[in-house]
């Protein structure tokens, strides 16, 4: 049968063509693929994440994203996807379940990460061995709903992430507010703990969870019993209105950046924060304000 399909409106092909050209100019290396699209039929390449082989050993993308090539390994990174950890990543998570000798932590991953009882700093010295008493009072350390900053330590056989919180910078999080952004936006950098000039403390979790808070007073280096107590404290400090407003402003700046799908690091946050000072906090998520502050910040960034 002779069938011809006429669409009421021709799909806008021209747009994507233009972009493909732009890509080549950018570096030639950045290739955009869609699910089901052939990446290469060259047999010398190995397939990585986000790809599959069909019967003729053609490498085909299974996600929409950018092609990344490391030597012979080809993988496709989806721009928006759940967090897949790497060892050494700093993450922010929420306790979802208290299980025997472990906690389950939601870290925006494909399944909950696991924090073993043996992987936290226990009161009475870092090196102390856990005992049965600790097992019985696990909720004293972390209960369901608590926020925690942690580091990816290992992977379990079923793919679950193993976390640890040993170290002075890792602790239960309080005095602040959580912002969730796409995990791809948070880049790996030297430090993920920042004290911004405005007096707000940030934990940039690589999983896209960002904790914005009033800095915890006390000497983080000290290992004495009082500090350990504070590590597991559930009580917020007194936060005054100015501090609250700063925290809220930083939160909204983060949300604005996420909305524009821009990379998030301490510098851009500071620039955005500065640009946002013209506006009241409550207006920051209005569309034109978002456009204005983020473009101002990114402009400043490229000026450097």
């Amino acid at each position: 049968m002779d069938v011809q399909i006429l669409s009421p409106e021709a799909p806008s092909k021209s747009n994507s063509h233009k972009n493909q050209n732009a890509m080549d100019v950018d570096g030639g290396d950045v290739q955009l693929v869609m699910p089901g699209e052939t990446i290469t039929s060259d047999l010398q390449f190995m397939r990585g994440h986000g790809t599959y082989l069909d019967s003729e050993s053609t490498v085909i993308s299974s996600v929409a994203g950018v092609v990344e090539r490391v030597n012979k390994l080809i993988s496709v990174r989806a721009l928006k996807a759940r967090y897949t950890g790497e060892i050494g990543d700093i993450v922010v998570g929420r306790i979802t379940e208290v299980a025997p000798k472990r906690w389950k932590v939601n870290v925006n991953g494909r399944q909950d990460a696991i924090l073993m009882l043996s992987a936290i700093s226990l009161p009475g010295g870092i090196q102390r061995r856990k005992n049965e008493e600790d097992e019985l009072q696990m909720r004293k350390f972390f209960a369901e709903g608590d926020m925690v900053a942690a580091e990816v330590q290992a992977f379990f056989v079923d793919g679950a992430i193993g976390l640890h919180t040993r170290g002075h910078q890792f602790s239960k999080l309080r005095n602040g507010s959580l912002v969730v952004v796409p995990s791809a936006l948070v880049q790996r950098c030297k430090s993920h703990f920042h004290l911004l000039p405005c007096g707000v403390h940030l934990v940039l979790g690589l999983n896209g969870y960002i904790w914005v808070s009033k800095p915890v007073i006390g000497n983080p280096e000290s290992t004495d019993e009082a500090d350990i107590e504070r590590t597991y404290s559930n009580k917020n400090d007194i936060i005054d209105d100015a501090e609250r407003e700063s925290i809220a402003r930083v939160c909204n700046c983060l949300r604005a950046l996420a909305r524009k799908f821009m990379h998030i690091n301490d510098t851009i946050i500071i620039y955005t924060y500065e640009a946002s000072l013209k506006y009241p906090v409550k207006d920051l998520l209005k569309k034109d304000v978002v456009d204005s502050i983020t473009s101002e910040a990114s402009h400043k960034l490229t000026m450097e």
């Binding site: 955009l32 869609m34 299974s62 791809a184």
Partner: protein
């Protein structure tokens, strides 16, 4: 006989399309901030919103599968979606034949929520297309797009993409979903009777409709991805 004339002698349908034409399609992805992936599609006046959550921890431990993910699909028709408001009937569940690489996510679950906002025929196809886009938006690996399209048969003439009027006038409606790259058929569903002689031409018309939809969806997803990538590169 007051039956509507669905096909005029000059070969136009009630809304002015020719038999082999799709309705106007408007599609968008990433329309919801909360969901991992989301999409909105309008095929004519059929409007569907899809949201995907996951892969994430399985909510009921009983359901955990150790070798792959479980998929929940919830389908909901808004009470205001049809021309006449109706009481909500119980949820229909469609197995919408989406090809996922679920083995990559053992012990997790993917939730797909489909909400029909307005109903003007071809709900199943619109749902499948919306779900495909939402899954891609969520970065969940798939073999390929799953594109769906309907075709029916009016007066022995195969017609593409029936609207509600054509659907409800007793013409058979076949929904076909394919993987455009290989042309494999994922789903063929029909709830009415169609003469077997007509099946082939109707199915091939629906398949060509799927391919047409694929180019439209692909352009939309590509644009969105490009846009995200450009933002990141800045």
């Amino acid at each position: 006989m007051s039956r509507l004339e669905l096909l005029t002698p000059e070969g136009l349908r009630v809304d002015g399309r020719r038999p082999n034409e799709l309705r106007k399609i408007i599609a968008k992805t990433s329309v919801l901030a909360q969901a991992d992936g989301s999409a909105y599609i309008e095929q004519g006046n059929t409007k569907v919103l899809a949201a995907v959550y996951g892969p994430q921890e399985v909510r009921h431990r009983m359901q955990i599968l150790h070798d792959r993910a479980i998929i929940n699909v919830e389908f909901n028709v808004a009470p205001f979606s049809t021309s006449e408001r109706k009481k909500r009937s119980k949820n229909d569940k469609y197995d919408n034949g989406i090809k996922l690489q679920t083995s990559q996510f053992p012990r997790s679950q993917i939730d797909i929520y489909l909400q029909v906002l307005q109903h003007d025929g071809g709900t199943l196809q619109a749902c499948i297309n919306a779900a495909t886009m939402a899954l891609i938006d969520a970065g969940i690996p798939m073999i390929d797009y799953v594109c769906a399209s309907t075709a029916g048969c009016i007066d022995k003439q195969p017609v593409l993409d029936l609207n509600y009027l054509e659907e409800s006038s007793d013409s058979p409606e076949l929904t076909v979903a394919i993987l455009p790259r290989t042309g494999k058929v994922n789903l063929m569903s029909m709830e009415s009777r169609l003469h077997v002689d007509m099946l082939e031409s109707v199915a091939s018309l629906a398949t060509e409709g799927c391919e047409q939809i694929h180019t439209i969806l692909d352009a939309v997803v590509r644009d969105t991805t490009q846009h995200l990538k450009d933002s990141l590169m800045q």
